[in-house]
Symmetry: C2
Subunit: 342 residues, 2 copies
Amino acid sequence: MKSKSSAPASAHPKSKEKESATERWLSYRPEIRVLDCTIRDGGLMNNHHFEDRVVKAVYDACVAGGIDYMEIGYRASSKNIKVGEFGCWKYCHEEDIRRIVGDNPSNLKLSIMADAERCDYKEDIPKKKDSVVDLIRVACYINQIPVALDMVKDARDKGYETTVNLMAVTTVNDRELNEGLEMLTQSGADAIYVVDSFGALYSEQVQHLVRKYLHYAKAGGMEVGMHAHNNLQLAYANTVEAIILGANYLDATLAGLGRGAGNCPMELLLGFLRNPKYKLQPVLRCVDNVIEPMRKDLQWGFDLPYMLTGLYNQHPRAAIKFKALPEKGDIGGFYDSILAGV
Amino acid sequence: MKSKSSAPASAHPKSKEKESATERWLSYRPEIRVLDCTIRDGGLMNNHHFEDRVVKAVYDACVAGGIDYMEIGYRASSKNIKVGEFGCWKYCHEEDIRRIVGDNPSNLKLSIMADAERCDYKEDIPKKKDSVVDLIRVACYINQIPVALDMVKDARDKGYETTVNLMAVTTVNDRELNEGLEMLTQSGADAIYVVDSFGALYSEQVQHLVRKYLHYAKAGGMEVGMHAHNNLQLAYANTVEAIILGANYLDATLAGLGRGAGNCPMELLLGFLRNPKYKLQPVLRCVDNVIEPMRKDLQWGFDLPYMLTGLYNQHPRAAIKFKALPEKGDIGGFYDSILAGV
């Protein structure tokens, strides 16, 4: 039945440009790994206060959907944090994860994200044999790469898979990026991610970055990942672009739930991928019955304020502030303020 | 200020692949024409019953935004139609248009759409000198091209600009499309449009089609246009793709208002284009103050049912029916029904 979907010829090339037409139409890339980060990125919209039934529903949908990884939250330092300020998915204590997944008797691997300089990783990350987590994703800004390298080493030594998610790449100049990626080739991480934190990338820039990352990744025996935001309604388009170029780690979230304008919607991504292990049905039901009902409260997704911060390559915080005004603000005035800040 | 926008290097090439980097960054294509079809395509969501204040607000935003054309509705036969079933923007009588625009003392040109076999064009379209309309857009399916050719001839003879909008192109096989486009090269129309009625195109297919259309268009001295729908959140991405390849007639609507999942959002398109004559500010305000408040009633825009009809290259009617059920239906069952129909 899938054969009549309108998916295009070269959606699933094997990272090469010249495979045969038959191969392009009928094959898929087994190297592709889909990572659901609904609870992790979505947690930025509710201070990580998801009910257990929501986390369990996402877990169940990921297992049934044949998704490769589920990122269940952050592991963050709890020093100097007021008790109750954040929900448990900011810390992902082992007992909280196991309350949802037990010993995770499934093919779904579990991931947590650790921000450079916000995680006491040496103490707070146990050895893999004592954890239900499979993958540690280290998030860092360009200047934090030395810290990230130590975090990757620590996690690898403890037995985990690892990735490095280099945030806000649209703010980094090309020369510094080359130097940063050069350092990461020695990290031993399984993948390095193009992270469009501000949702500011157009397709041509995705091409430039993914090709660059692939160049360095190959030197380090790593894969390349894509993490997109939807400020310009391009999160899915840019993820498809990255797939075509050869990115194999793909982030998406149910209904696009994530910070600000949100992420690449998982339902679109699974509709595009050809590997029969992925099942759309359970994802559709979870989106419709569990995730969408939270939209009114959490208010993620494309809108004009987030569009404007994306268009001008800015952090969404100005948009978040504008949207939280007690009375509806003037979008024209907000546009002026964004322009003034450029 | 615009210079710090994150718009990419080759967003505005002059339909060539090898212009210099400076030219790519600083220039724009003066041949590009932006056409707003908010009231025309949006009219498919409310049987063309827009209040005058809404039509006037869109007109004012188009004028202030420097938009090239505004399509104000259809011109359709009113034979055998129950009075009151449709609003006046299904017919666009001259006096209705003039009630909004007067003699249109602006640089904005006005357009109406005439569907092949649904318009008594010989009688219902007056000579251009007696009309405030500038452009007649003839919409047809592939089998209606002979009728469309006669409609274009009629409109040209009366003094109008013309385009042919060949609908539902994703359902036409390549050989028939070539023959149809060959016929259109003789039409004398100003442009022929790639129309993704079902919102089913991916970027690679856009590339294939726009290149094909350009081949035939050049032979006929015509331009190529792009009209996208947002079922897969690709309306804007596909429009950008078409621009890069050389399409110069671009359809968009305020807030994407249009049938089903809607169209390419005008606010995104203007944010991307470099020509200083386009102004984003008045468009943002109209979207925020006039268009978005109608969303709750008109219910256009991306959602799961429209995603599924787009994914399987189907008319949105099944999704419209599913969304109109008296009680919320099961999206999983709807997915099964779409698959069964493929």
